[in-house]
């Protein structure tokens, strides 16, 4: 049986992979996917703590409620973000972050 540390380690590694993607990749859509990976890693931590810190023999469902809300907010965030990317592509014909430097002084 996997212990709490195993789950926390795996979710921390997934978060690190997502962070590396956001920092290293220059394609906005891929950066967005890596943000989703980081949110999911946080969800795994929440579910693991909810399962291992049970109350009255049940998992702590308050933690899973937070996961539910995180997933909903992530869905809203993705829809708005992708709409912004489409608008950006119409204006600039690129989604490469190195080409988006008009705010640079």
């Amino acid at each position: 049986m996997a212990s709490l540390h195993d789950y926390l380690l795996v979710s921390g590694l997934l978060f690190a992979i997502g962070l590396a993607g956001v920092v290293l990749r220059r394609n906005i859509i891929v950066m967005f996917m890596c943000l989703e990976l980081m949110l999911s890693a946080a969800n795994l931590t929440l579910v693991a703590f909810s399962r291992f810190n049970g109350m009255n023999g049940l998992p702590d469902y308050n933690g899973q409620m937070l996961v539910f809300f995180v997933i909903t907010v992530a869905a809203a965030e993705v829809s708005v973000g992708l709409a912004i990317i489409v608008a950006l592509y119409r204006a600039r014909q690129t989604i490469h972050t190195d080409d988006l430097n008009s705010l640079k002084g």
Partner: protein, 185 residues
Amino acid sequence: MPLALFWFFAAVMLIGGLAVVSLRNPVASALSMVASFVGLAGLFIGLNAFFVGIIQILVYAGAIMVLFIFIIMLLDLKTEEKRAPKLAPALGGLGIVLAFTIQLIGVLSQTPNKSHEPLDLVAASASMAGRSEGIASKLKAGHLPDVNLIGDTLFNGYNFPLQIIGVLLLVSTIGVVVLSKRQAA
């Protein structure tokens, strides 16, 4: 969940995540993200969170992924041309990630570990007896009525946040329509 199964799903999840970061083609990244989320859903189900696992598949691997792939196809993105990577930002980013990983090991060495114990469904049944007969009887029969318990917590304990999240979804729908409307030239 047996240890072998845990490591299998964890490996699927982590390899999928690595593929998202390392593949050059955005469509390949999106598809490896599906693999990553399927592994994650397996881990959720191993943690007795059946509802969250199914939601993970339906919402992420289903809806959100279709949105991503739709946008990639709509913008007709080709595989990124090889650009000379800037060394300083890349090294700085990798340094941050490395520092995070080292910190993770430090935090884990100080957190008390817990082993995986089976749920005590009979005690849970006794504590739920006053609140819901249906849930209590299912618990007594040895099943974990995960969706019933989630619904009970969501609608009794988190009713107001649920309404707020509904408003948030409505606002984001309107926002998407406004954002993607073609401006009159």
